[in-house]
Amino acid sequence: MSVITVERRILQKNDEIAVANRHYFLRNGIAVINLLSSPGAGKTTLLERTLQHLDPPTVMVIEGDVQTDRDAQRIAALGFRAVQIVTHGGCHLDAGLIRDAMNSADLSGVSLLFIENVGNLVCPACFDLGEDHKVVISSTTEGEDKPIKYPRVFREASLCLLNKMDLAPVVEFDQEAYGKHVHAVHPGLEIINVSAKTGQGLPAWVDWLSHAQQDKLRASR
């Protein structure tokens, strides 16, 4: 019997591509936001509302879905550049898929890239894409306990958006309990309450994005 010590990270290949993606984004001053949520939390609708506050030539969206290009069509209908990645069953995006999407896209003039990950609160959290920030979106209709049921994604996030605030009274959402759960897994994580329907919280979220863009521009100089 012989034993060979390996000590190699399982996701080393993904992480190497993510580092290359990150270098590319830094060189080009592109702030990259990876949006993560369960299916139906309102990612795409929130993104549509967000885009109304942004300038089309400076923004691009990469959409990740198991099937169909419906989301990319919705974004393109608003006049923004959109690339659809169809994973054909894959439960998450990885760094290689992002690299390939970038290679096929025109990123000239882009300073903000949204990556809308596959709707899933587990797997996407484990894969570095080369983004600056993971932003987790959960909604009041999903209940208060999502942060403690899916801690990794909340742990990894730089920001938490609590969507569907307009429905909070209907579903008797306990916001204090939600805040406690978020901060148990990620002490100090900023939470912005939003509603894609009424526009609540959109200015604060857009302001946060603007800071992320400014930070990236400063870093790229």
């Binding site: 012989s2 034993v3 060979i4 390996v6 000590e7 996701l11 998450h92 797997c123 990794r152 100090g188």
Partner: protein
């Protein structure tokens, strides 16, 4: 199911090692998985077994070593095992922690 993606990466890493030892037959692959990683060990096992069925890795077993999450409190300096993803010191309730283990996701060793 990201277990399949992880199993593919494990097999790719082991394949590379096997190239350097073509005369040997693989018995076991040991992987370390920290508890911060959401992963179902049985699914990782099943994926590994399915992937090696027709390869030179056939007959080898995958041994998954779970690594607990351990943290040290920056305030009271005590070291403890973190339970239930509650990132708070059980002694002084401070949330300023250094995570010392639990994030591992690696092929640790192979046995021939």
């Amino acid at each position: 199911m990201h277990e399949l993606s992880l199993a593919r990466e494990i097999v790719a890493i082991v394949d590379e090692i096997m190239l350097q030892h073509p005369e040997k037959s693989l018995k076991c692959v040991r992987v370390k998985v920290g508890e911060l990683n959401p992963l179902i060990p049985d699914q990782l096992q099943s994926c590994y077994e399915a992937l090696i069925a027709d390869s030179k890795l056939v007959g080898s077993r995958l041994e998954i070593i779970r690594i607990p999450v351990r943290a040290q409190c920056r305030k009271c300096a005590r070291d403890f095992r973190l339970e239930q993803f509650s990132f708070c010191c059980p002694h002084c309730e401070s949330t300023g922690l250094d995570i010392n283990s639990g994030d591992e996701l690696m092929v640790s060793e192979v046995e021939f």
